[in-house]
Symmetry: C3
Subunit: 339 residues, 3 copies
């Protein structure tokens, strides 16, 4: 694409060589003369000036003499749009690979791509334009929506429901038994795990993440929520819409999470917690069972506290030695003056 | 089943409409007129009174006028028994799927169900009534006992031993190489990982959990122990009987764990630790290498301490600001009075 | 092998019955009369004296009367060498299993072993002597070097590059999409994940570990680095040579790690961190985003600090109660003396 064509696509303002040909997107530091890069903010103007990129997406009002640029309101978002045009996703031809094992009464839309060694059990349905990569397993009665991509070796237990445009990365497990036992007569007796799991539209889930189905009720992942690799979602958890859950976070049974919540990596959430909308949780934080975290809170630490308070405690801790010294000096002073 | 039949099965005491037909179990909040739910304790009497469940399992001595109930000593346990009767586990027909690859000298009991794309290598044995779901891999010489369920894509490395009635969820890896190296001549030299792994009877292991085999000795998971999703068990670890190990916990090499131990989520245990019987470990706690945790202890924090002590430290921390203020005031007071 | 032959292989100094036949290696505590064990240091002399091992590898200068021994400079390393001779790795016969699905234009070296249900997509290449166990998936254009072992169900996304002598354990995912979104118009918009991933020679990666490819640049795992089970490596991470990364550690996007770095279990590293050579990080430590950790540092805690400083803080914390008591007493003393 020409720079002028990209500018038009992005409704941006070009400057420099509008006829230049651009073949792909790249990082600011490594982009070459046929590549497009973006300048996130004014802080990146130094690397931007030194960049060899054929074209730079810059914030409106920024000029970079000697570079071909396109000024846009949100350069990173503009790069995403440009990348979709420059690197269209390759989709495999539709059809069912001869090694796939598809139950006679499963319903697979005719334009689906079903890879080698895929197994689709009885009563499962797969919507239009969905791609099942090699080794995917769909259990009895599973429903997968339209235009989904299930990467290799994704396992979907019987009865699970997956919406439209869902992306599941390799090794994801959807709908396994929750972890519930009653200790009786000297042993752990398994509680029934008969519930279901619903993954709503536009969810993306990272590699080897595991999500259990409900025990009696349902586990629900809300529309547009994005979950990273190696995350654990326990039974009966309800997660709202457009949340971000970073890698290795674990959410215990029956916890409810609102919309637009962000959890950093390795966060642990106890059982029966309620996390309201727009909460932000710092990395490795631990939220104790039964807690309610109010809308918009920013929390950190184990047990989790408001971020500002926790930081104050950390600062105080760093000065604990000084405090101890002060008390010691004070004691001596008092001692000296005793009659 | 009629309410009267369920009451008989549970040896419970029915009240209300004993002829009512019950078709399944459900949660108290969502159960309908043909469903059975349970009331865990007196604290749940409010939701119980509002429940639309066709029948409620209640603690002995509790009456709920207007509801059909069955009084039992342990309602949650009773629900488990009832669920087994109302939702009998569906087992697939025995037989070996034509796409399964089974070594000629492997021994698979005739009533096993072996799914699509299962691979069973030379010398492996599979006991009566065991179900291998699609994509399971059993390496050379693996032994799997009777009435086990190995969910899709479970991988069992050569030589591993699995007892009876074991449940392994999707993506579990049994018997991979332990993580041991000797640093020599500027590089990490791999220590031999030649040992074995034994999973005893009635163990259940969650999705994508990994268990390494012993380096020279054995890794052992004791009878009746339950392990959640994404847990890591390192080489030579010995875990006792009827333990509960919650998701994302990691246990380092050569650590020994007693019977009836409970570890909450994201716990980390160092190498060569000894955890005695009935220890309880709080979420995200870290036990340092070489420690001995005495029988019955309840511990928390990193480094882990007795729970009560750790909570006291947390409370003290929360008052650290006040302490610093007090010292400051004291210093001023002393200063003022100086002659 | 005779003891004399093993001594010759190890260039060690035998004492006792040099004609004795040794069939394998074992742990000091469990070794029998035909097995070889090692005595790591003088601290193990007690168990060594009690050992029933047919032969013991001991540090130079150590004599164990009544035992057959071989004295070597580094007994543990010597055991590794002996184990390689006594337990030669069994390699399956070369060939492609009839159930494997190999693209016509994929290049697989003739002496490779390709197991059942392996899928190799178009343009992929596999070097000499490499073993692909059942269910391995290699995406389009993947390059795997020579003498690698990919255990069952390893998934390699399109375009990933893997060096020579690499070992990937069951369920490893190489090259999945990084976790990057821009929040715009009320939803999370996926940032392009178009980069690549390079796994250099002699790397070993544990079961169910996940490694994302770069977003625009590359993710790189340096030569000789060893990664344990269930570790998460995010997009654009660069890891140096001969590092040790223990189980359940997570490294966030664009972080750079030097050579010979050691991370204990469950460590969390934020984004854009720089960890220089030979840094050691204690278990469960958390390194905040953007930090630089200087060469040779030993750090621990969240947020991570120098180990010695963090230990001092812990010790001070343990005496916090005593400090508070002291302040209380001091206040009373001051009060009493007021005029």
């Amino acid at each position: 694409m020409k720079v002028s064509e990209i500018a038009e696509l992005l409704r941006g303002n070009p400057a420099g060589d509008a006829e230049r040909q651009i073949q792909g997107v790249a990082a600011l530091e490594t982009a070459g003369p046929t590549e497009l890069a973006y300048v996130e903010s004014l802080r990146a103007l130094g690397p931007a000036a030194a960049s060899r990129a054929g074209c730079l997406l810059v914030p409106e009002g920024v000029s970079l003499p000697g570079h071909t640029t396109i000024a846009v309101p949100h350069p990173k978002l503009a790069l995403i749009r440009a990348a979709e045009a420059l690197h269209p996703a390759s989709s495999p031809p539709p059809g069912i690979h001869p090694t796939a094992v598809v139950a006679r009464d499963a319903q697979v839309a005719p334009d689906c791509s079903v890879g080698a060694n895929v197994v689709i059990e009885s009563g499962a349905t797969v919507g239009a334009g969905t791609r099942l990569c090699p080794g995917v397993f769909l259990g009895m009665g599973v429903r997968v929506g339209e235009h989904c991509t299930l990467h290799p070796r994704v396992t979907v237990y019987p009865g699970s429901q997956i919406g439209d445009r869902v992306i599941l990365h390799a090794g994801v497990v959807i709908g396994s038994d929750g972890f519930g036992y009653v200790f009786a007569e000297g042993r752990q007796v398994k509680f029934p795990q008969l519930g279901k799991i619903v993954i709503e539209d536009d969810v993306e889930i990272g590699s080897n993440t595991t999500l259990d189905r409900g025990s009696l009720g349902a586990t629900v992942i809300g529309r547009g929520t994005k979950i990273d690799n190696l995350v654990q979602i326990a039974h009966n958890v309800k997660i709202g819409r457009h949340c971000i859950i970073v890698s290795q976070t674990g959410i215990s049974g029956s916890t409810e999470v609102g919309d637009y919540v962000v959890m950093a990596g390795q966060v642990g959430i106890g059982e029966h917690v309620r996390i309201e909308d727009r909460v932000v949780i710092g990395g490795q934080a631990g939220v104790l069972p039964g807690k309610i975290v109010r809308s918009g809170s920013i929390i950190w630490g184990t047990p989790s506290r408001p971020m500002s308070e926790f930081k104050k405690t950390l600062a105080r801790l760093a000065r604990l030695d000084a405090l101890a010294e002060k008390v010691k000096a004070l004691a001596q002073q008092v001692e000296k003056r005793s009659p």
